[in-house]
Symmetry: C2
Subunit: 215 residues, 2 copies
């Protein structure tokens, strides 16, 4: 599935989507993308812009139109999107929408090593996360309401999605915190003992050696 993209950086997707409307030079793309808040929707690093544009051109997805020069500035090359570029944009979008990729939020990585902390510290840190999350959610909700008055829904779906997912995260964290504070999480006692004494609880010891059979 998902044949590897010739230019894989998502900044390239944003660039293509901007050039669909009209040709631009790189810095103008940056302006337009920033104005549309695309840097909120993707992990965009502006330092990569010129590299990405060059790569797109190299693969025939963009073509240089003209170079003009103002004053003693370096000349600015204006690019237009090619047919191949249009195809790539559409195909890539189709894939991003239709195929759910397993994502790997950093929080998940953190949770998977939660055992290195003690239960009390874990509880405290999760509470901090929840606090911050709720602040961010309130901000996001306000921003969405504000934009909703001037921008068509179609261009806000990604923000709505983001909000929904983060809301679910907050709910889940609240649930876990609840189990931790009421003590209803199974294995809490073993976890605490393990962390305080350093000794692996007897019922867990055997698991730890799972998949370790080597000569």
């Amino acid at each position: 599935m998902a044949r590897r993209r010739r230019v894989g950086n998502l900044l390239a997707l944003a660039v293509l989507s901007a050039l669909v409307e009209r040709p631009m030079h790189p810095y103008e793309m940056a302006g337009v993308l920033r104005a549309r808040g695309k840097d909120q929707d993707m992990p965009i690093k502006w330092g990569s812009l010129y590299t990405v544009v060059a790569n797109l051109e190299r693969h025939g997805l963009l073509a240089a139109v003209q170079s003009d020069r103002q004053g003693r500035r370096p000349e600015r090359t204006v690019y237009r999107i090619t047919e191949a570029g249009r195809d790539e944009l559409v195909d890539w979008t189709r894939e991003l929408i239709a195929v759910p990729e397993r994502e790997h939020p950093r929080f998940e990585a953190g949770l998977s090593v939660l055992g290195v902390l003690g239960p009390d510290e874990a509880t405290e840190l999760l509470r901090q996360r929840l606090d911050r999350l709720e602040t961010q959610l309130a901000d996001a909700r306000a921003a969405l309401a504000r934009h909703g008055r001037e921008i068509p829904r179609l261009f806000l779906v990604e923000a709505e999605y983001d909000l929904a997912v983060r809301q679910a995260e907050a709910t889940w964290v609240r649930g876990l915190l609840d189990e931790l504070t009421t003590g209803s999480l199974p294995g809490l006692t073993e976890w605490r003992a393990w962390h305080e004494t350093g000794a692996v609880p007897p019922d867990w010891a055997e698991l730890a050696e799972r998949g370790t059979e080597q000569q």
Copy 2:
């Protein structure tokens, strides 16, 4: 905040967490991590293992213990975690748990350029996504139930989190699909006209030029 990690690859986190228990050589780490399903929780590329271990050693987070040799194989270096490594592991975990980072799921990027497709194609693709998502969710639920019988909850929280978040995604997609199929999404008519004729709807035209004021 979040001072840059000396070794930023999350594979390094996994390596540190494995070496907390006992010293190992790299290939053994791979076996243990795989057995624990850590490659499910993080974007692990095994091709990076030796690079990452070398970097960890370079920064004093690991130390070589011994090199033994079996047959004519290349010698295998056994590494142990250092005090600095232990500190890094704990500090990194704390950060991952307590500080919610703005993540950028690829789906969000896709949604932000949804306009390049027409509403009918978008609907069809979203339906495909929902189908696949539901299959994956069923699998994940089954796997979680199976593991739940032998592994303590503590080591399954990351899978539970993942499930909860993806469930929220499915719900959200279902909601959007609903608005699309019933036609209740505002601007649907404009969107369709725009896509069929290529002409930007009058009420949207002005927005498109937003943030474009350049000489």
